[in-house]
Point group: C2
Chain length 223, copies 2
């Protein structure tokens, strides 16, 4: 989209919620599905995006906004997959805010299908900030343990989708995916749950199909 | 210690830094080594404390303060090892503060050797809050990836010790412990580095010996 198109966002002095609502309206009007990925550091957000790029990159036009405290590393990994990516380095701040996303939007091409936002690695603070997404996904990697949903409830409560990552490590861990799923559903019964290994590919086609379907529903105005 | 002994802490209206300094003075005067454990959710802080209790519990008197957003789970796991534990549930707050620790201290027995504080699982926010510890340990589990020190520099910059956990999973992961160590030392050359598996025992005796030595040095006033 052009700088003019989203000038309104940059001028907004309202709260995060207002800015987020404006971003959501703008992206929906353009038929772009915006997905906010939330998790602890090292749960596999970037690896998941790389694996999605491998599966969806030829059929759909993806773009990625990367949030990190420091370094351009994640954006570089995404660009290496041929997907345009913008790095927001928060310089210490523990989460992304809608206004940070709003500042990047003028650079994001208008003709895309998916805008993925990878939040700062933090299972706590990002949960409180709407970024204008249509889908919020929380990732929980098997090495983190199946006891996390109740210990960090806000992220699971505010998400639409739970992605259990690193399923290839389950045989080596005291991790019960059914227990993690059951506990997450206790916190939030609306959660759609997927089990994947971005590295080995398990469950990735199903997840990609879900995002494709969510895009179709968003565009049909039924999301 | 008695309620009277630490009344001064509860009355303190100063900043976190001042409260932390008071806690540190108090604990040092009693010959207690206070250790603050910092990491992402699921890096293995509680498992590390369980493994330390197995190794040090008969020789040393340990106590543990557990920080979590919700649930008493971690304190229950520690108590099951015969170690007294107090759970601070922050109810949403993303880190512990010195005043929270100060409120628990009156209940902690005076005659202990080690006070371990397990911070809220968060590699970002807890790094900014001194809790009155004499040693700060940052944990990085092998599944989180060897690229984390530069992405989350504050935790590594403010720590005295880096503990690379879940070493038993390294054969199944794209994780290079040497790379993680080298990068962490670039951020903070003062770091003492240990590699452990709390589950399998690897490196745990060496880490326990380090804490015993740190206690001796603290008591000798050379910490």
């Amino acid at each position: 989209m052009t700088k003019k198109d989203v000038l309104v966002l940059k001028d907004l002095l309202g709260t995060n919620k207002q800015v987020a609502a404006e971003i959501r309206r703008e992206l929906r009007s353009r038929g772009i599905l915006c997905v906010n990925l939330l998790s602890s550091p090292g749960s596999g957000k970037t690896a998941l995006l790389e694996a999605l790029a491998d599966r969806m990159g030829t059929t759909y036009r993806m773009a990625v906004i990367e949030g990190d405290i420091e370094t351009e590393r994640d954006a570089e990994r995404i660009r290496a997959k041929g997907v345009p990516a913008w790095q927001i380095t928060t310089g210490g701040a523990c989460h992304l805010e809608a206004k940070m996303v709003g500042k990047v939007l003028p650079d994001v091409p208008a003709a895309i299908d998916f805008l993925f936002i990878e939040n700062v690695g933090n299972l706590v603070c990002p949960a409180g900030f709407d970024l204008g997404e249509s889908l919020r996904c929380v990732l929980l990697s098997s090495p983190e343990g199946d006891d996390k949903p109740k210990k960090y409830p806000q992220a699971f409560l505010t998400a639409d989708v739970l992605i259990l990552t690193k399923s290839d490590l389950v045989p080596f861990l005291p991790f019960d995916p059914d227990k993690a799923t059951a506990e997450a559903l206790t916190v939030n019964p609306r959660l759609r749950v997927f089990r994947v290994s971005a590295l080995k590919g398990e469950g990735m086609d199903k997840l990609a199909a879900f995002f494709a379907d969510a895009l179709a529903r968003e565009r049909a105005g039924r999301a």
